[in-house]
Symmetry: C2
Subunit: 63 residues, 2 copies
Amino acid sequence: MDIPMELSLEQKFTLKLYEGQVQDLSAEESQEFLLEVLRQLMVKDNMVKHLLRERLMPQNLAI
Amino acid sequence: MDIPMELSLEQKFTLKLYEGQVQDLSAEESQEFLLEVLRQLMVKDNMVKHLLRERLMPQNLAI
């Protein structure tokens, strides 16, 4: 498996920018964003699981 | 493409639990969690992109 687990340099930079922006958020705002990002993480989780399942059983792709 | 974009019932329930827990977080705590979840989202993004690329070009799997 050569699935990348590291962030690209560009992503690391973007994360640095987020660090600055996040500090300006109120507790309510950051709680709200946190929930939304957690939701998106779950969606991505499902996508990864689905794609990994396909990867293991590529014959299912045609179904 | 039949990649799932919806949350499962279990995930929706977990998200509801998070809603309650997130309200107890201070601004600092939720900012910190937000950044960590954003980072994880980027990692998942990379995984999805990688798996989708493989899906389009399955011959690369063997390389």
